[in-house]
Subunit: 361 residues, 2 copies
């Protein structure tokens, strides 16, 4: 939620964008790839998302430069019909591959009403909400998921077997902001625990377990511990479904293939899989009728009685969409640890772009 961010610095959108593009081009990406990966990370920062944002630029750039992901991938369609495609990402940056795949799913949904695109041989795609949001920009319903490094064990087990396999769902609206749900299948994303540690804050109970599956708040347990699925066996079931769609169905690596040894070692292909579904509401209803119904649902969400002490009830993604509009005007909020890391990386790589601060909290 946007409210959790306490920005120390606001930076101009333009300088952040230029910073990302320069970093990624220096790492070896061509202009198209550099622009896309930057935009996905920048949008996450605009939404106030605490992880998977511009703070990932240095790490991604280093991984690309080291050859961990392919700087010049041949992102190609392996199989295709009017309603589906199977995309091989050629070990390219997950954001780049995913924007290509999302556009493909959207094209098919506009043409035939539905588009399902599976992706293999990709990498971490950043924030799932981005691709769901893309679909809403053309009045489509978008759904996406991915698998990834193992952070969740099945209920009753203590061997991590699934990623946190986030689900992104975008629902277009007319009067209101689009609905964008972006939820990890763990109580919190691993990146958020890492961020908490980086910020020197305590780890709240319920966020992680140690390597024997025992609840832990000790940062020392983070490296070998793992996450907690949402809602017990229901979250385990959901993450297994996401693994099936993103990993099994696409021919990507899955389950124990994504052991930590493998995903943390740059010399191995991550072979992450993704799944993108776009549905054109015009299949079922007149387009305006669907959008009007979404608006009415949001109206009901916001007009209902509130619990004691609650000033406003939000649709999923509404705080983020509001933050986006605000941050586009006022500059992008950057956490202190992220800002320091971006400055250090600029110095390390000798980037020309300066981050232009616009305000200090």
């Amino acid at each position: 939620m946007a409210a959790e961010i306490e920005p120390a610095v606001r930076v101009t959108v333009e300088s952040l964008r230029a910073y990302g593009v320069e970093a990624f081009e220096r790492a070896g990406l061509p202009p198209e790839g550099a622009a896309i990966v930057t935009e996905v990370q920048l949008e996450a920062s605009l939404r106030g998302q605490p992880t998977h944002n511009v703070g990932s630029i240095p790490g991604y750039a280093k991984r690309i430069k080291a050859g961990g992901t392919n700087a010049r991938p041949d992102i190609r369609v392996v199989r295709e019909s009017g309603v589906h495609a199977l995309v091989d990402g050629d070990n390219g940056q997950g954001q780049w591959v995913s924007v290509v795949a999302t556009r493909l799913a959207m094209d098919k949904a506009r043409a035939t009403g539905i588009g399902v695109v599976g992706v293999r041989n990709s990498n971490h795609f950043g924030a799932a909400g981005h691709y769901a949001w893309m679909a809403t920009q053309e009045r489509l319903i978008g759904l996406c998921t991915t698998n990834g490094g193992l952070v969740l064990a099945p209920t009753g087990g203590i061997t991590p077997t699934f990623g946190n396999n986030p689900l992104g769902v975008g629902i277009p609206a007319r009067r209101h902001h689009p609905i964008v749900l972006d939820i990890a299948m763990s109580v919190v994303a691993q990146g958020k625990i890492a961020l908490q540690i980086a910020e020197g804050k305590p780890i709240p109970p319920g966020w992680m377990v140690d390597k024997l599956g025992r609840p832990s708040t000790n940062p020392a347990d983070f490296a070998e511990g793992f996450g907690v699925p949402i809602a017990g066996h229901k979250g385990y079931g959901l993450t297994l479904v996401m693994e099936t769609l993103a990993g099994l169905l696409t021919g990507a690596a899955f389950g124990w293939d994504h052991s930590r040894e493998r995903t943390r070692n740059f010399s191995n292909l991550a072979d992450i899989g993704h799944f993108f579904l776009a549905i054109n509401p015009a299949l079922f209803l007149g387009e305006d009728e669907f959008l009007d119904r979404v608006d009415r649902m949001i109206d009901e969400v916001k007009a209902g009685e509130k619990a004691e002490g609650v000033a406003e009830v939000f649709a999923p993604g509404e705080p983020e969409m509001r933050a986006r509009a605000h941050n586009l005007r006022e500059g992008v909020p950057i956490l202190p640890s992220t800002y320091r890391a971006l400055l250090a990386f600029r110095e390390e790589w000798g980037l020309a772009t300066e981050l232009e601060a616009v305000a200090t909290a």
Copy 2:
């Protein structure tokens, strides 16, 4: 979970089936409808599902007879393409309408690789897992959801605005039982709370809130209280997504349309919406390759290290699929309160069918 059931009586499959068919035909359903509705409820009892099972037969039969649902519906396709259909259930029993819709989605998925079927003007469809399981019987991935009576409020709100909108997902396997995930978006289904009250058992904390949104374990708060979404705002987001797919997209009633006054009054159409998606794995991989990958995932789930005190780790639906095989042989377990209600209804309606008990615990 099957383990939660403590059967007092086991009844033969044949006598239960005959009982359901007779009850529904006496209520006015034609043979096809009576057979389908009975089968959906019987399968839930075979899986050991504690709600949405044969215990619902008397209530359904009375509602049909009273004209609350249409005994002779014209279940028809309103719009259709190679990949989708919009079905009007004509206020028929939700199970009947949903089996028709699921078959349609499966037919399309076999032909074009994908089938999306939206349903409007239907009624409660029983257990979501049934339709997901149906897809697995033809080696398809099945996904379904429904909206319904209002039991969940948005995060921060105390006005029920969503059903518990269960999600069913079926994934076919080869060596293993198919995976069948069936989860309500509330911590527990309302029917389970009602069952707990009917069985005279205490309501565990965390299952429901009173009408002001305060946690409650008092059975007296059940009628005006509501449920708790799984995983906080994540469950709220998920139930809103299900409402969008099942209710908004299909042209069915949704949100406040489904006020309790309306859904509990037989003279109003429930106008419940459902959503069915079938995906043919052959779109992406050879069929055997996909099934082999599912088997491998289940192998990993079961082969991992176990938490202390855990004897076995299960895939979603595995205990239910095992219970089904067992109960097909040994007879269907019936809860004491359910058994009494079935006997009372038999007497009330003067049914000819006797329930044949095969064992008593």
